[in-house]
Structures are given as structure tokens and as C-alpha cells.
């Protein structure tokens, strides 16, 4: 079974530039998550999708961050314009269906390491 795919693995940009990250979840997984992991901290949820709908985006800085999952499969996270404090690893995860009973395991991709200069 193929895992969660993310690209690019690394990205270096200057502040005020734009950047986009791509995630392809495990086939059949309805729920997709984007996390931000700042160096020395645990991952923090940015946004959660169920198919192509948003379940939770309460911690997404909407003035500069946006995300979409138009066809309910792969997803793109964008930052525009980037700030120095956006330097972090951006992790994508997927699970079967968060709405089912029990805690569906989240499977994580390798992440995209963003450096903002």
C-alpha cells in the first residue's frame, strides 16, 4: 500500500514570496490533515478536510494561508505572502474516515521542510 506522498521535500524562499505544497493521501482515505511543525515543537493542526469539505480550519492563518481539496483526493496548501515565522515542516496526514466510531489512525507523509529567508 502506497503511503502519503508530499512534494516538494524541501523549499527555500524569501519572505513575501509565495509557496505551495502538494499532498496525495492514501487511496480511499476520506480525511486529510495539514499540520505545521516548527522546530522543537509538536505538530499543530492547520486544517482538516473530509472529502472536499473543511471540517476544522480554526488554526489556519487565513490572511496568508489557504488550502483546497477540490476533488476530495489530493490537496494543496499555499502560503502567500510568506513570513520568516512560517519556516517549519508541513506535514500531511490522512485517515479512513474521522466520522466513524473509534479513532482512525492517521498516516503521515514525510513532510515538506520550508525555509523562509
Amino acid at each position: 500500500e502506497a503511503g502519503v506522498a508530499q512534494s516538494p521535500r524541501y523549499k527555500i524562499i524569501e519572505k513575501r514570496q509565495s509557496v505551495a505544497f502538494w499532498c496525495n493521501p492514501i487511496s480511499g482515505h476520506a480525511t486529510l490533515y495539514w499540520y505545521q511543525q516548527i522546530l522543537g515543537q509538536g505538530p499543530k493542526l492547520l486544517i482538516q478536510f473530509q472529502n472536499n469539505g473543511v471540517v476544522d480550519d480554526s488554526q489556519l492563518p487565513k490572511d496568508r494561508f489557504s488550502a483546497e481539496r477540490l476533488k476530495g483526493v489530493d490537496s494543496t496548501l499555499k502560503i502567500q505572502p510568506a513570513k520568516l515565522e512560517d519556516s517549519a515542516v508541513y506535514l500531511c496526514a490522512s485517515s479512513l474516515d474521522h466520522s466513524r466510531s473509534g479513532a482512525n489512525e492517521q498516516f503521515f507523509g514525510p513532510g515538506t521542510r520550508l525555509t523562509v529567508l
Partner: protein
Amino acid sequence: AQSVTQLDSQVPVFEEAPVELRCNYSSSVSVYLFWYVQYPNQGLQLLLKYLSGSTLVKSINGFEAEFNKSQTSFHLRKPSVHISDTAEYFCAVSDLKAAGNKLTFGGGTRVLVKP
């Protein structure tokens, strides 16, 4: 809102020695508890989880964790570590009353196993 505290940011340990990683969470409501491991330059992998039933849960590679509801803790232990256990370990909590199976992570504990 739920919060998770991992008291030790780094734990150096000699090979074949025991290790314990501490995790406390804030809420006393019903929760699911998880330990994830992150090897260098890799994504997070689920190590073990507590959903219900026996409070002692075990992984296939010798780790175990015990859910203690009264102390709101979920400490991770291994009686004898290997060099390959060098990694960062994250404790996470899912609040059953929160929407979306949302995970709240602790800050992580970096384990460095020395020969």
C-alpha cells in the same frame, strides 16, 4: 482546549538501558491516547495507542505505555533500548468530544541512544 505536556525535551540513554518518556494531558474527559515516533528525515509513525480496555498497551518493538486516568498520564517505557530507537517521540491526545478526530501533540522528546 486540550494540551499535552512532555516533561523531557531530550533523554540520553545507553544501549540496553531502560527508558521512560513522560506524557501528561490536561483534560479529564474521555480521550484516545497515542505515541508517535519520528525517525530522522521521516514522517511520524504510530507506535501505539490506547482507545479502551486494558490500560497497558504494547507495541511490536518492545515499547509499552500505561494509561492512568487519575493522573491524566500516558508514559512510554522500554526496558532495554537499541541504537535504532534513536528518534523523536510524540505523545498525542484525541478528545472524544471534539469534532474531527483531532490530535493535539506534545512538544516531543528526543531520545539519543548511546553505545
